[in-house]
């Protein structure tokens, strides 16, 4: 009689105690505030803050704050777009490999651009962009489609209707196209950083297969523009 009693007591005690291990789908109380990671916001003197920022600071004194996720960093070198791209490149949770590939890509871009810079004549030197982050951002921006196609069924037939895309969707499509292009259409012996570097430089100059894919999508949207009225939003 003591054993089932003890087991039941243990179960009930465990249910009453809060969880110690974090759970994947844990949801915070709506009272919890987002953590502020940027150092610059804490270095501002009190007078420079606007009304809403003062209110925010007062709230922070009384409300609890969510735990900062491990991908959020206050370093000057962290870039949310690059983190997103690294996560999309990652396979089976191997973040170490994905991050090293990303840094090798950026290094390769810098090397290539520096080579071009040193070989160029004086007046061309200003036009050559050497910052790999700038190249990455500009290349992604050039790859983003402006309008997308969505399947809408009307009267039994499915049509491809041109539809405006959200910013998140555009970014996702650009990154996805880049990564699939680099994974599939490369020689067996070229490594990913090299191929990615080539594709990014081509996209930066509005050339290359990813830009072509974007143009193909635009052409299809333009061909189907008669169906644009099938949208209801």
């Amino acid at each position: 009689m003591a054993a089932p009693g003890a087991a039941g007591l243990g179960r009930r005690l465990r249910a009453w105690l809060p969880r110690i291990m974090p759970v994947r789908w844990s949801r915070y109380n709506p009272n919890y505030l987002e953590p502020e990671v940027k150092k610059e916001s804490y270095q501002k003197p009190l007078e420079e803050l606007t009304e809403e920022e003062r209110e925010q600071m007062e709230l922070k004194a009384v409300r609890p704050i969510k735990a900062a996720p491990p991908s959020l960093s206050s370093s000057v070198f962290s870039d949310p777009m690059i983190s997103k791209f690294t996560n999309m490149m990652m396979k089976s949770g191997n973040k170490v490999l994905a991050r090293s590939l990303m840094s090798q890509t950026l290094e390769a871009i810098k090397r290539k651009q520096l080579e071009k810079y040193h070989k160029a004549s004086e007046n061309e030197k200003e036009t050559i962009e050497c910052n790999p982050y700038v190249i990455f951002h500009q290349a992604l921006k050039n790859c983003q489609p402006i309008i997308g196609l969505s399947n809408i069924t009307k009267g039994g037939k499915t049509y491809q209707v041109p539809v405006p895309l959200t910013d998140n969707r555009k970014r996702f499509l650009a990154m996805k196209w880049l990564i699939t292009e680099c994974r599939e259409n490369k020689h067996r012996r070229t490594l990913m950083p090299e191929k990615l570097c080539q594709e990014l430089l081509l996209a930066f100059n509005n050339e290359g297969p990813v830009i072509k894919k974007k143009h193909v999508l635009h052409k299809m949207a333009e061909a189907n523009r008669a169906y644009a009225h099938f949208r209801w939003w």
Binding site: I146, I147, H218, K219, R225, A228, F230, W233
Partner: protein, 123 residues
């Protein structure tokens, strides 16, 4: 002369009740003659697609410039502005106000009617 007091059957005979007027009631309502608390479900007309003019202007520009984005930057910006505006309006649209065409869909009407039902009996 005073009004002659006829027996009841005389007046009834004269009024024709026995001839053709004494019939069972023609209207036999299966339900109570009162308004119901709901409206029939009507398939509401879908709203129009937004930003079609901007999109067609942008596509015309694309056709002229071989789908390059740099010469069409102005049209693209206008398209983005229109899309952002439409999205904001869709978010701000209050559920209880009328839709853009000016009529309430049947689900909302039913919700309102449920809050203020027809009083069928007094307690």
């Amino acid at each position: 002369m005073a009004a002659p007091a006829y027996p009841a059957w005389v007046t009834r005979w004269v009024s024709g009740q026995w001839r053709n007027k004494k019939r069972p009631p023609t209207l036999r309502p299966p339900r109570t003659l009162a308004l119901a608390d709901k409206v029939a479900n009507r398939r509401e007309q879908s709203t129009e697609a937004t930003c079609i003019t901007e999109m067609s202007v942008m596509m015309a520009c694309w056709k002229q410039n071989d789908f390059n984005d740099t010469p069409c930057a102005k049209e693209i910006r206008m398209f983005y502005d229109c899309v952002a505006k439409a999205e904001k309006e869709r978010k701000n649209q209050n559920e209880d106000t009328l839709s853009s065409k000016g009529n309430l869909p049947s689900s909302k009407v039913n919700k309102l009617l449920k809050r203020f039902p027809q009083i069928t009996r007094y307690v």
